[in-house]
């Protein structure tokens, strides 16, 4: 297929671009296979480059012969393009519509994008499971790296290599896989160096209504317990939902069969409910009625903040079990690819200072989201403006980032990265020139040859000039566990994402610059004082008069 077939009108002159809080731009609109471009064709004037894959929905409006299209993006931006001429407007709209809903992965922009920068380190090789395991081996010898899933048949959503208890062999793993949803047998998610406790994750056990059991499953998870110790199973669903799951072949670990484990049910919502929340929240943020009652009631009705609170609370609970109770934890929901990953990854942010660095956070996203088989392609296919009925779309990952932002707000000096890094990761998860978030699993990514054919987001991020932009100037390494507050008063709306395009950020940006300035000036002075001090010390040793005076 040729993109040209989809582009009915490649170019229109005299198009006017309207964006909130920015001056209007008049220029030429061009459509390419992957971009919508608006250029005023003047020197040093800003151009708009919009990836078609970033476009969530498009609306047409006609007033006389002047047509407008309203483009709503996955990064939540809304822009308006006034296009002279009905036909042009109609053509542009239908072309953009076709291009932005193209669901053929191999035609996505990352396959066409060639980096304009020097790749210092290939991000595709930066966070391999075997490297992560080498770090684990320096701390413990109780785990091994199994390649039971090397051809991704035991569990299609797992990577070829997973960490499992040393004493459990591959045959056992194969049996356990048949007892867990989508073959997601329990694997190591996190090892807590301080006390040797672990966090594992899995899919739900397939007990069904007649209480099927699997000795191998019990053996596997018991292998992670210290003698005489008990562990916690955190089921991210309410007990009612977990009960209902039995009718569909799922279920939960019964006490009778898992006497060494305590089960705690939490109430993290399922993906379709989260998607509805996102749509309602964004609708509220874009409501210009300016009535306080209406805003607060819409914010409340969206339930978004409720999800943030519940996810964060569950993650804190998991972290508390590990760090405070000295107990190991197994986390699962239904499939083990959504709420499970929210909990395991956030718990690591709380427990492990390494995850609060820029590189550590990339590693966490790789391990706990990409390699752990969060279906990014399905979840991020549409965002808040989609008119089509949601299928598998859900802001699961965005909620994770929101929770990280909440912790960052509460511990502003304990993260190496700033808010802008989180926003960047959000943007790229939904639309990107990089291949990192394409596909639903490691297997799919390998099949598409993404590491060979596309550039990794991390290749771009891990260059000095980008790192500098994303670094938190306040950062001072903090080796402690950080316990966030989950009180409603402590949880705020993530303005950097949800109000990013709805308000002028000038004053807040200036405040940030001022903060950077204060810190940099301090560093500069420190350097000056130190070098002067060295000079003086030298003068002193060279000066015999002073020495005699001493």
């Amino acid at each position: 297929m040729e993109f040209a077939e989809l582009i009915k009108t490649p170019r229109v002159d005299g198009v006017i671009l309207h964006r909130p809080f920015m001056p209007t731009v008049e220029g030429t609109l061009c459509l390419t296979g992957h971009h919508l471009i608006l250029s005023s064709r003047q020197d040093n004037a800003e151009e708009l480059w919009l990836l078609h894959s970033n476009i969530d929905s498009i609306e047409k409006r006609f007033v006389g012969s002047l047509g407008s299209i309203i483009v709503k993006c996955k990064d939540l931006r809304v822009i308006q393009l006034d296009i002279p001429g009905m036909e042009e407007c109609f053509n542009i709209a239908s072309s953009v519509e076709a291009l932005s809903t193209l669901d053929i992965l191999s035609l996505m922009y990352p396959f066409f994008y060639r980096p304009m920068f020097e790749v210092i380190e290939d991000g595709w090789n930066s966070f391999l499971p075997e490297d992560a395991f080498k770090d684990l081996e320096t701390m413990t010898d109780e785990w091994r790296l199994s390649d039971v899933n090397k051809d991704c048949t035991v569990c299609p959503s797992y990577p070829p290599l997973v960490a499992v208890p040393k004493d459990v062999d591959d045959d056992t793993l194969r049996k356990v896989a048949t007892f867990r949803h989508s073959g997601r047998f329990p694997v190591l998610s996190y090892y807590h160096k301080k006390n040797g406790m672990v966090m594992m994750r899995a899919g739900q056990p397939l007990t069904g209504t007649n209480g099927r059991r699997c000795k191998e499953d019990e053996k596997l998870i018991n292998a992670t317990l210290r003698p005489g110790k008990r562990g916690y199973i955190i089921d991210t669903r309410t007990i009612n939902l977990a009960q209902q799951a039995k009718a569909r072949g799922g279920g939960f670990e019964s006490e009778a069969n898992y006497p060494q484990w305590r089960r705690i049910h939490k109430a993290i919502e399922r993906s379709n409910i989260l998607q509805e929340s996102l749509i309602k929240l964004v609708e509220a943020c874009n409501d210009q009625s300016h009535s306080m009652d209406r805003w607060l009631s819409k914010l409340e009705a969206s339930n978004w903040q409720t999800h943030v609170k519940e996810i964060l609370t569950t993650a804190c609970l998991a972290a508390q079990c590990i760090d405070r109770e000295g107990a190991s934890v197994l986390v699962h929901g239904t499939e083990g690819t959504d709420s499970t990953l929210q909990v395991t990854s956030l718990a690591q942010i709380i427990l492990d200072p390494a995850c609060r660095t820029i590189r550590g956070f990339q590693g966490l996203v790789e391990r706990e989201w990409l390699q752990a088989g969060h279906p990014f392609h399905h979840r991020c296919a549409q965002s808040a403006f989609s008119n089509s009925k949601p299928r598998q779309e859900a802001p699961v990952f965005l909620l994770f980032l929101d929770c990280v932002w909440q912790i960052l707000r509460q511990f502003p000096c304990s993260f190496e990265f700033s808010e802008s890094f989180l926003v960047l990761v959000f943007d790229h998860a939904y639309a990107s020139q990089f291949g990192t978030f394409l596909g639903n699993s490691t297997a799919e990514r390998a099949k598409l040859s993404l590491p060979e054919k596309t550039v990794s987001l991390w290749s771009w991020v891990n260059r000095p000039q980008e790192l500098e932009r994303l670094t938190n100037p306040l950062y001072e390494a903090n080796s402690l566990v950080i316990w966030p507050s989950v009180a409603p008063q402590s949880l705020l709306l993530w303005e950097g994402v949800f109000l990013r395009w709805n308000r002028s950020s000038k004053c807040l940006d200036e405040a940030y610059e001022e903060m950077v300035h204060i810190i940099e000036y301090n560093k500069e002075l420190q350097n000056k004082v130190n070098s002067l001090r060295r000079q003086l010390a030298q003068l002193e040793t060279e000066d015999p008069l002073l020495q005699t005076l001493e």
């Binding site: 304990s414 001072e476 566990v481 316990w483 507050s485 009180a487 008063q489 301090n522 000056k528 005076l549």
Partner: protein, 644 residues
């Protein structure tokens, strides 16, 4: 002290509001000025609460463990004591109730507050702020506005200050005539004057217009105000009440200006609700903030139904209207409500903050409060309930002003010289009665009470401690600092001010403060600058002999600041909360787990039985050590871990 039935009670338990496990046992002392709780074995810091700050005392039914006493304070602290014997509880209850509601002004704390300051210094405290100096800063008097002695001895309006500025063309008969046509004689007078474009903000009370009455002098007075702005051919008259309220007032012979009777005025209603609505709204909002383990919906629904942020938005919107009229249109504005001492004070002072960078400085905000609130007769004694009185007179007008300023600070982080701590400290002392500034309802009462002779002034205390109140992001030459502020009042720009209303729940606040961090860095920077200067001198060779000495000195003073701030924060950082709230509730009075361990383990029985309890829906919580001073929880074991 005849009001204290029981000066001391032992074995009183002080419950933590969020997690009852963390209670403290100690002795409660009642004194004429303070209520003091001293923990046994000196584990935690003592808690001192000025008796004047106590807002309500509620005695609950006795239980086996004792009798509960809930003490709510005007600074939003809530103390939950359990007194062993009901008799004692009863006595404490009655004593505190009496102590917190003095009958005579002389009983207020400011008359017995005697810091170690000599008389000459004390007098100087009161000279620290000079309102006349602020008027001359505005360029007054000039050819358009003059100082008027008409209200000397408070003869024209007993609730106005003695010193006032009026239009050059306003003669005493006009002023007196106008005052007779205004509630409480509060005739139109100057609040703010812009020397750039001559536009002014004037304030008054409502006219006694009824259905048809008019007053020639009052019309002349407005004419004079209009003429004092030579470049403008009309002026705004802003009635800050909802239209219905103003219309209702006409039946009582009051009301609002008829545009037909006044030449060249544009009349405008801005609906800010009255003191009763505001009092109830704050009450509801505080109930929401006080909820134990609320869900997100509980909180947001409660916040909405309290209407509090809607009212804050209304005050700010009104301020913006006036500030824009003055700065952008160059048009003068007359502002009034009913009596002109609540909403009018709010709106005039918010407009001044928006208009004039001076009022965004430490000294400027103090002058502004002194001018638009204290001198113009905001009834602090009634509104803050300093003395036993009519509860219907109480209203949080000044709270709303301080919060409006805080909301602006959130939008313009570099525009204000002071930080939120400054606002919170002012709030606290408006109610504490420790200083004489906010005693009485107007200037006349304060003169009669001889407050300047007998008490101390808050302003000079704040000024002396200004380093605590400086916003590190403020620079006088920053672009945000200049000119008119144009805030957004889209509803999502308003936040709930947990720093004030949940001030005593430190668990809810960020565990690391960017502001404190930056302040520490700035302090260090300052030291470095000094060192650099001295090093350079040494280098020049002026004092080569001393260089070794200097070197030693500088090496020891450097770079210990940041470490301190961060560490103190981490004491808290390393304390987990009850993320298992629902389990706790089943046994609220459970003894404190010795090692602060998870409640889960001590409650094995119903954990995995699939009960409703297990599904654990919302569970918030944050611990809240009781004293505002405590930076870490005394009974947490985490301190040990943080050291490790």
């Amino acid at each position: 002290m005849e009001h204290i039935r029981l000066p001391k009670v032992e074995n009183v338990r002080l419950l933590d509001r969020v997690s009852p496990r963390r209670s403290r046992v100690g002795t409660l002392y009642l004194t004429a000025t303070h209520t003091i709780f001293v923990e046994n074995e000196m584990k935690g810091p003592d808690i001192h609460v000025e008796d004047c700050l106590v807002c309500s005392v509620e005695k609950q039914a006795a239980t086996a463990s004792g009798c509960s006493l809930l003490v709510r304070c005007k600074n939003f602290q809530v103390l939950h004591f359990v007194v062993p014997r009901e008799r004692e509880c009863h006595d404490v209850h009655l004593s505190l109730q009496r102590l917190s509601q003095p009958e005579r002004c002389e009983e207020l704390y400011c008359f017995s507050y005697k810091p170690n300051v000599d008389e000459a210094e004390r007098r100087q405290e009161w000279d620290f702020l000079d309102l006349k100096a602020d008027y001359s800063r505005m360029g007054l008097p000039n050819s358009l506005w003059k100082f008027s002695p008409v209200n000397q001895h408070y003869k024209v309006s007993d609730t106005y200050p003695a010193d006032l500025f009026v239009p050059q063309s306003a003669t005493p008969p006009v002023i007196v005539g106008s005052s007779k046509f205004r509630s409480r004689g509060r005739f139109p007078t100057l609040s703010y004057y812009s020397k750039e474009n001559h536009a002014a903000i004037c304030r008054s009370s409502q006219p006694l217009s009824g259905f048809s009455a008019r007053c020639l002098e009052d019309e002349q007075m407005l004419e004079a105000i209009l003429r004092s702005n030579p470049r403008s051919d009309f002026m705004y008259v802003v009635d800050t009440r909802p239209k219905l309220n103003a219309i209702a007032n006409r039946a009582a012979g009051k009301g609002y200006e008829n545009e037909d009777n006044y030449s060249n005025i544009k009349f405008q209603f801005i609906g800010i609700e009255n003191i009763h609505v505001m009092r109830n709204s704050q009450q509801k909002m505080l109930e929401v903030c006080e909820l134990r383990s609320p869900s997100m919906s509980d909180f947001l629904e409660g916040l909405e139904s309290s209407g509090w942020l809607k009212h804050i938005k209304a005050v700010l919107d009104a301020g913006i209207f006036i500030a824009k009229a003055v700065a952008e249109e160059g048009v003068s504005v007359l502002v009034h409500c009913s009596d002109g001492w609540d909403r009018t004070a709010q709106v005039c002072s918010v407009a001044s903050v928006l208009l004039d960078p001076h009022y965004r400085t430490l000294r400027g905000l103090m002058v502004l409060i002194e001018k638009d609130w204290v001198s113009f007769g905001h009834k602090f004694s009634h509104r803050c309930n300093h003395l036993v009185g009519d509860p219907k007179e109480v209203s949080p007008a000044i709270d709303q002003f301080l919060e409006s300023v805080w909301q602006l600070m959130e939008q313009f982080p570099c525009a204000f010289e002071f930080n939120a701590r400054f606002l919170i400290t002012i709030h606290s002392h408006v109610y504490s009665c420790q200083y004489g500034n906010f005693i009485g309802n107007n200037q006349r009462e304060r003169v009669e009470l001889r407050l300047r002779e007998r008490t101390h002034s808050l302003w000079s205390y704040l000024w002396k401690n200004q380093t605590d109140y400086i916003n590190p992001l403020y620079r006088p030459d920053h672009s945000q600092t200049q000119g008119l502020l144009r805030p957004s009042t889209a509803p999502y720009c308003f936040k709930s001010w947990r720093g004030l209303y949940n001030r005593f729940d430190p668990g809810m606040h960020p565990r690391q403060s960017v502001e404190d961090y930056l302040s520490a860095i700035q302090e260090e920077t300052q030291q470095l600058e000094e060192q650099l200067a001295s090093h350079k001198q040494v280098e020049k060779g002026y004092k080569r002999i001393n260089s070794k000495f200097l070197l030693k000195k500088t090496q020891s003073t450097c770079s210990c600041y940041r470490g301190c701030t961060i560490l103190s924060d981490l004491g808290l950082a390393n304390t987990p909360q009850d993320y298992t709230g629902c389990f706790v509730t089943s046994s609220p009075c459970q003894p404190k787990a010795p090692d602060g361990s998870l409640v889960l383990l001590t409650q094995d029985s119903n954990l995995s039985n699939g009960s409703d309890q297990e599904s654990g829906i919302a569970d918030v919580s944050c611990r809240s050590p009781l004293s505002e001073d405590s930076t870490r929880d005394p009974d947490s074991d985490e301190a040990a871990y943080s050291a490790a």
